[in-house]
Structure formats: structure tokens, C-alpha cells
């Protein structure tokens, strides 16, 4: 999710599309939208992948709207209860909501970007504790598998994690598991 050209996270985060409204007519580029038309008419909308949208927007050939993943509905849902929103639904399985947000932020002007940045940081901080808590809880369970009493909320939360949060979850879980194993290990078992 960094600006590093080679960062896999950044590349994967850009695997999203923006809805763009073209301002001019562009002949012979109809295939960009995946449709069967030959030309792009002015004022027509297309879904353009982010890496292509950068150039198109900077060259002022199109405008774009803030993606639904960061729209008003999502924003209100997050304000109500940060942990109930399923981020993985907003960006597709394996996608990164935060990464998508960052790439979007880079295109926006200052004011909108600031708003988006605040939304992203508040959401992240709000969900972080829950992620870590669950990771540590799951570090305790043996290989027998998830217990049935974790509750629907925990499971729903875990399914709703986006790629970035999943990473964190794994890190925290690994760390906790190592600690637990170390504490239980005794000299007698080693010698």
C-alpha cells in the first residue's frame, strides 16, 4: 500500500475501478469500458481501472466520482458502528479497502482527501483493537478448530476484514501463539 513502484500491496490495491465520466469524445477507445461500442461519447460513464484512471483524470479527459466504497452510506455506517461494517464486501474478496482509499486519496484535492483520510484513520483505529483481540483469542485455541461459542459477531467481523487487517490479524496471532508455546514449554520437555 505504499508508493513503492514494486510494492505488491500497492499493485493489488490498485485492482479496483473508478467510475469516470468522460468529458470529451474519444474515438476508437470504446473497448476500455469493456463494452462493444467503438467510440466513447462525451458525458458517457465507464468503469476504468485505477492505474489507467490516474492518467485520464490528470489529463483532464474525465471526471470521476468518489467510489461507493467511500460514499455517504458507508461513512454513516462506519460512524454508527465501526466494527460492524464488512470491509471485504466493499472491495471484493482479497481486496484492500484501505489501499483503495489511499490510491483514491492521492487523486483527490486537499479538502476531499482530508475527509477521506480521516475516515480511513478513524475506521482503522476503531477496528484495530477488535482485530488484535480476536487474534490473541484465536492463538489460544488448539488445532481442533474454532470453538462454537465465539459468537456470530466475531465470525462476521473476521469475514469482513480487508486484506490489510487480515495481515495484522495473522501477525498478532503468530506472535501470541509463540508466546503461549514458550510459556508452556519446560526444561524437562527439552532435555
Amino acid at each position: 500500500m505504499d508508493d513503492d513502484y514494486f510494492s505488491i500491496d500497492a499493485i493489488l490495491a490498485e485492482n479496483q475501478k473508478f467510475q469516470c465520466t468522460f468529458k470529451q469524445e474519444i474515438p476508437d477507445m470504446g473497448h476500455l469500458g469493456g463494452g462493444s461500442e467503438r467510440d466513447i461519447r462525451a458525458q458517457s460513464k465507464r468503469q476504468i481501472p485505477i492505474w489507467l484512471a490516474y492518467t485520464i483524470i490528470y489529463s483532464d479527459w474525465a471526471d470521476f466520482d468518489i467510489p461507493t466504497a467511500f460514499g455517504l452510506k458507508v461513512r454513516n455506517a462506519l460512524k454508527a458502528e465501526t466494527r460492524s461494517v464488512r470491509l471485504s464486501n466493499l472491495v471484493g474478496a482479497g481486496g484492500s479497502w484501505y489501499g483503495f482509499g489511499k490510491t483514491t486519496m492521492d487523486i483527490l484535492n486537499d479538502e476531499q482527501a482530508k475527509v477521506l483520510s480521516e475516515m480511513l484513520t478513524t475506521t482503522f483505529k476503531g477496528r484495530l483493537i477488535e482485530v488484535i483481540d480476536q487474534a490473541q483469542h484465536f492463538a489460544a485455541l488448539g488445532p481442533v478448530g474454532a470453538s462454537g461459542n465465539t459468537g456470530d459477531f466475531s465470525q462476521a467481523f473476521r469475514e469482513g476484514l480487508d486484506a490489510t487487517e487480515r495481515d495484522l490479524f495473522t501477525l498478532a496471532q503468530e506472535s501470541s501463539k509463540r508466546m503461549r508455546r514458550w510459556h508452556e514449554e519446560t526444561e524437562r520437555s527439552k532435555r
Binding site: Y98, K102, A113, T121, L171, W182, E187, R191
Partner: protein, 183 residues
């Protein structure tokens, strides 16, 4: 590095135990030994029943062969730790504890429970201490920001445990932050 991802982020508890085992500890040897040179330094001579200061790894080795008795360090007793535990539960900061108390106490309680008075009670106090501090660090997580972050009096094992995801979270927050004035 060619380490698996989970090992790239921090040291393993066993490695920290190894580092902590270099600390010196007092023992009552049951055998005699001349001043011997080891890689880390010369230790001995061991003249029972006089006490001697040797590294923990050596003390553990001798103890397992039943060749010494280990003296608990000044902080490994119920009064000290109970006082710290009370401090932990009443005040909001972390209480001062020896930096590697977790590793040293685990090793000593493991090999020499007979040499340390109230070993079982100590185990419980240590567990409570650990949990109290963990709860506090969890609260600190809520105040995480992309800038600096300090946890005074946090100990070696605890730092190691939280390091991977704390640092990653701070990195993510840094990414998400928008510097005003950027295009």
C-alpha cells in the same frame, strides 16, 4: 532475508531467553571447579559452600545435574512482586520491573522451584502481572498514532510480543495520513 515472514518481524521468545540467560546469578555450588575460561568470560572458581556468581545458563546446567543450588535474584520473591502487582493494578503507567524479568523468572521457576521460596505463589503473581500489563498495552493500542509511541517500563518479552503488529499498524496509519498541501 530468507526467514519465513513470521520470524522477520521480531525475535522468538527462545532467543530472548538465551540473551537473558547471560545475566549473572548467585549460586551455591555443590562441586568444586577451578576458574574456567568460557567464550563469554572466565567464571569460578567454585568452592562449596561459598557462593559464586555465574551466568544463568551455567547455573541451569549445573542445577540440572544437581550440582548447585540457585539463589533467587533480589526481585524474585512474593513481597517485591506483590507490591509491583498492586502498583500495576492501581496506577495507570507500567510499574518498574527488571527488563528481562519474564525470561529469567520462567527459567528459574522451571529448573529450580525447590530453591525459590513460594514458587507456586510466584507463578500466580507473575501471571497476574503479565495479564495486567497486557491489558494496559491493549488500551495503549487504542491511542496508537502514526507518530512516535512510547511505553515506559515495558519489558523485553512484552515489547517483543507487540512489536510486529504495533509497527505494522503505525506504518499503515502513516500511509493513510494525508499531509495537507500535497497534490
Amino acid at each position: 532475508m530468507s526467514l519465513p515472514p513470521s520470524l522477520r518481524t521480531s525475535a522468538t521468545p527462545t532467543e530472548l531467553e538465551l540473551i537473558a540467560s547471560q545475566q549473572l546469578i548467585e549460586i551455591i555450588p555443590l562441586i568444586a571447579m577451578e576458574k574456567t575460561a568460557f567464550i563469554s568470560g572466565a567464571y569460578g572458581p567454585l568452592r562449596p559452600p561459598h557462593r559464586a556468581k555465574v551466568p544463568i545458563w551455567m547455573a541451569v546446567n549445573l542445577k540440572l545435574k544437581k550440582k548447585c543450588h540457585i539463589m533467587a535474584p533480589y526481585w524474585l520473591n512474593t513481597e517485591f512482586l506483590q507490591a509491583r502487582l498492586n502498583e500495576e493494578t492501581t496506577e495507570s503507567g507500567f510499574s518498574r520491573l527488571p527488563f528481562r524479568f519474564s525470561e529469567v523468572s520462567k527459567v528459574l521457576l522451571d529448573v529450580a522451584p525447590d530453591d525459590i521460596p513460594d514458587a507456586d505463589k510466584l507463578r500466580y503473581i507473575l501471571k497476574d502481572l503479565r495479564e495486567a500489563r497486557q491489558a494496559k498495552s491493549r488500551e495503549g493500542l487504542a491511542n496508537l498514532d502514526r507518530g512516535e509511541f512510547s511505553l515506559p517500563n515495558f519489558c523485553s518479552m512484552e515489547i517483543n510480543e507487540v512489536r510486529p503488529f504495533f509497527i505494522r499498524s503505525m506504518a499503515i496509519l502513516q500511509q493513510l495520513y494525508r499531509e495537507p498541501g500535497e497534490t
